[in-house]
């Protein structure tokens, strides 16, 4: 566990440092550059949160909360404000221990999201992770639409050393899921991971297709614990909120995987999604290799976001 923790932080920071420098040096200069907490000070904070893709609404909410706390606690020093700000976001982004229950029992994980966000890669990484925990994993290749999607997933299945159940290009994805469920049952698998085709959340027919897949799982594999992860690209802006909202309408989302967090994007929209929809981020993707999937840790995430140095030295 501690090894993973170090890996997480190490990787996160390595991936995020270059980038965090912008937000970070920004934050630092704000907290040190202002001698009093005034409107200019709050405006600067607003700028930094917006630049982190938190969005106008979440930003305004955070600042309101911050203002109230500053008043309540009679805070005078801008630097004291920093801890308050960090704490309030951390508190909000905390993931419950029960969030990873599916890793411990018979479960089926449905992975959905718009095109190109990293669903297939995430399924591959998850397979590798669970396999290394000694679980028997089966993968369903329900993206029968995109060219070479099956081949791509097969490569991941091979890397992870797990079995994949697929279908022909153009086959009904629900029937692939159906077959995969039977296979998972007969092989006595612990976890069935289902990759799906990327689809934009405003395409009615494709969302209906997802509903059908969802129903099949409920019906055919009712004994399995359900986990439904929506994969969001960490580079995405405000549209991610719309994605989470609308995928949530066709399937009960239990968590978010925030990918491409090894770039310069801050993935701040997750904070907005958490406040509006209460869907927790459970994993983050920090690269393209099989080990580049990490459990989301609110403390590490926010510390890295705001570059809290003491913590990093400890890691």
């Amino acid at each position: 566990m501690s090894e993973e923790k170090k890996g997480f932080f190490g990787r996160l920071v390595a991936g995020l440092t270059k980038t965090r420098e912008t937000i970070v040096s920004g934050i630092d200069s704000i907290f040190s550059g202002f001698s009093s907490i005034d409107e200019d000070f709050y405006e600067e904070i607003e700028e930094i949160l917006i630049m982190g893709d938190l969005g106008v609404n979440a930003t305004e909410q955070i600042i309101e909360t911050l203002k109230a706390k500053v008043k309540e606690k009679k805070i005078k020093e801008p630097s004291d404000c920093k801890q308050l700000l960090i704490d309030s976001i951390k508190e909000q982004m905390q993931v419950e221990e029960a969030a990873y229950r599916f890793e411990e029992e018979l479960s089926v994980v449905l992975v959905i999201g718009v095109n190109g966000v990293g669903k297939t890669t995430t399924v591959g990484k998850l397979a590798g992770k669970l396999k290394s925990q000694g679980k028997k994993v089966v993968i369903a290749a329900a993206d029968t639409f995109r060219a070479a999607a099956g081949e791509q997933l097969l490569e991941w299945a091979n890397r992870a050393g797990v079995e994949m159940i697929g279908g022909q290009e153009g086959a009904d994805p629900a029937s692939v899921i159906y077959d995969a469920i039977s296979a998972a049952k007969s092989r006595k698998a612990d976890v069935l991971l289902c990759d799906t085709a990327g689809r934009l959340h405003n395409k009615k027919n494709l969302m209906e297709e997802l509903k059908k897949i969802n129903r099949i799982i409920d019906k055919e594999f009712s004994q399995a614990y359900r986990e439904t992860l929506v994969v969001l690209d960490g580079t995405t802006g405000q549209n991610a909120l719309s994605q989470a909202r609308q995928f949530g309408e066709v399937a009960d989302l239990t968590g978010i995987v925030l990918t491409k967090m090894d770039g310069t994007a801050k993935g701040g929209i997750a904070v907005a999604i958490q406040s509006e929809l209460s869907i927790p981020v459970k994993y983050i993707g920090v690269g393209e290799t099989i080990d580049d999937l990490q459990k989301f840790d609110a403390n590490d995430y926010v510390n890295a976001l705001f570059d809290v140095k003491e913590d990093r030295e400890g890691a």
Binding site: G118, A148, T235, S242
Partner: protein, 449 residues
């Protein structure tokens, strides 16, 4: 969400103001506050928004408020115009070498942006234009990326050049260009692996391809849902490898697409195409005005502005029509109608705005030639005295000679213009109603000369 009601908000802010005067600083600031929110909500980069708002503010304060608009709407009108201007006022095509000369196009972008699909889509477009494209499979990293390109290439009926995933992308690109030259292909499109703009090695790889293969066009493929980070991405790709054009993907989603504005602002490079779906035919021309309206998310306000503008145009057209009917139409009117046409962006763009014509490939109107003709006509009219313009019957041979000299044209040209003009006036009288389409607009462009 909070900003879907933006236009409503604006109406409220300016409820009691129907002033006809000039925009005051307060008007402008109040409206721009809402615009700022709208742009941020659309993911336009914070710094880009700041700069943009500053520019608009400077331009807007003191401007006359157009008839039929309130100050808020007037500000939006200016915002919209500035956005269109910023996004490049016209559509741009990928520059291709003529004939059998090989044009090398390199695709670049982050992971998952849509490069491979876009590569196949562009190949289809170029094939339709009579080009013979070859696709080069240089993504040796992502599992099955080569297969994906091959399948897409096959669907498009375009050959794919691959050397498997064990070779260096630079060597594959070189091999592809050689293959193209030998086998009569005149476009090579290099599909590359997605990469992070801060990944030094991977960026160096693109730079190496560009250095060792003569790449003519580097196209940055960007997901239209990208947030604030779009500026960092665009900036580094521009700085490290240089880009010539941009393709925005996944615009068939419901994103407002503010990244388009950020990227334009940062790179100054044109947006060439937009991806509108997963099918390989779903690649469309980019229209700055449509994008501006989408980002601003104020379709209804813009419609209102358009109507007000139309009302004004219609008003002018009606006046003109009256004059023409009474055969009072003179050279002054001619000048002002030409001015209007210019205001609307010249012949090609006017034709582009006409329903049914937009998006179509224009028949070869030689825009330059047509504009030259208009210029000459204009300079002839400018060489007339105001009296002559208002009363063309004054034009005797000696006056015509003077005008020809003044405009630097042959006297025969002056004669031709005057003759055409007289004929037109006669025609006007004979065919009443010719100018009177329901939308004055149409009539104006039907001027018979």
């Amino acid at each position: 969400m909070a900003f879907e009601n933006l236009s409503e908000k604006l109406q409220n802010v300016f409820k009691n103001l129907r002033s006809k005067g000039r925009l005051t600083e307060e008007d402008v600031k109040a409206a721009l506050k809402e615009v700022k929110m709208a742009l941020l909500e659309a993911d336009v980069n914070f710094k880009v928004v700041k700069q943009f708002i500053k520019t608009v503010q400077e331009r807007a304060i003191g401007q006359d408020v157009m008839n039929g608009l309130n100050p808020g709407q007037m500000v939006i009108k200016i915002v919209n115009e500035e956005m269109i201007a910023l996004m490049g006022s016209e559509t741009t095509e990928i520059a291709l070498k003529p004939g059998s000369e090989v044009t090398v196009i390199m695709m670049a972008g982050l992971q998952g942006a849509g490069k491979t699909t876009t590569t196949a889509k562009i190949a289809g477009k170029l094939k339709q234009k009579g080009k013979k494209p070859l696709l080069a499979a240089c993504d040796v990293y992502r599992p099955a990326a080569i297969d994906q390109l091959k399948i897409n290439g096959e669907k498009q009926g375009v050959e794919v050049f691959s050397m498997g995933d064990k070779q260096n992308p630079v060597d594959i690109a070189k091999g592809a260009v050689e293959h193209a030259k030998k086998n009569g292909y005149n476009v090579v499109i290099i599909d590359t692996a997605g990469r992070l703009h801060i990944d030094e090695d991977m960026m160096a790889e693109l730079a190496a391809i560009k250095e060792q293969v003569e790449v003519h066009q580097t196209i940055l493929v960007v997901d239209s849902m990208t947030g604030q980070d779009a500026v960092n991405v665009a900036n580094l790709f521009q700085e490290k490898i240089g880009i010539d054009g941009v393709v925005l993907t996944k615009l068939d989603g419901d994103t407002r697409g503010g990244a388009a504005l950020s990227i334009r602002a940062v790179t100054g490079r044109p947006i060439l195409y937009i991806g509108m779906g997963e099918k390989l035919s779903d690649l469309e021309q980019f229209y700055p005005d449509r994008m501006a309206s989408r980002i601003l998310g104020m379709g209804d306000v813009l419609t209102m502005i358009e109507k007000a503008q139309e009302a004004i145009d219609e008003d002018e057209a009606r006046k003109l029509e009256q004059k023409m009917k009474k055969a009072e139409f003179d050279f002054e009117d001619y000048l002002s109608s030409m001015g209007q046409m210019k205001k609307m962006g010249g012949l090609t763009s006017i034709m582009g705005m006409m329903p049914g014509l937009s998006g179509m490939k224009m028949p070869e109107i030689d825009e330059a030639q047509a504009e030259k003709g208009m210029k000459r006509t204009e300079s002839i009219i400018y060489s007339m005295t105001p009296e002559e313009r208002r009363n063309p019957s004054l034009l005797n041979p000696s006056r015509k000679k003077r005008i020809a000299d003044g405009a630097g044209v042959d006297i025969a040209e002056v004669n031709r213009l005057v003759k055409q003009f007289e004929q037109a006036r006669k025609m006007m009288k004979q065919i009443p109603g010719m100018m009177g389409g329901k939308r004055g607009k149409k009539g104006r462009f039907n001027l018979p000369f």
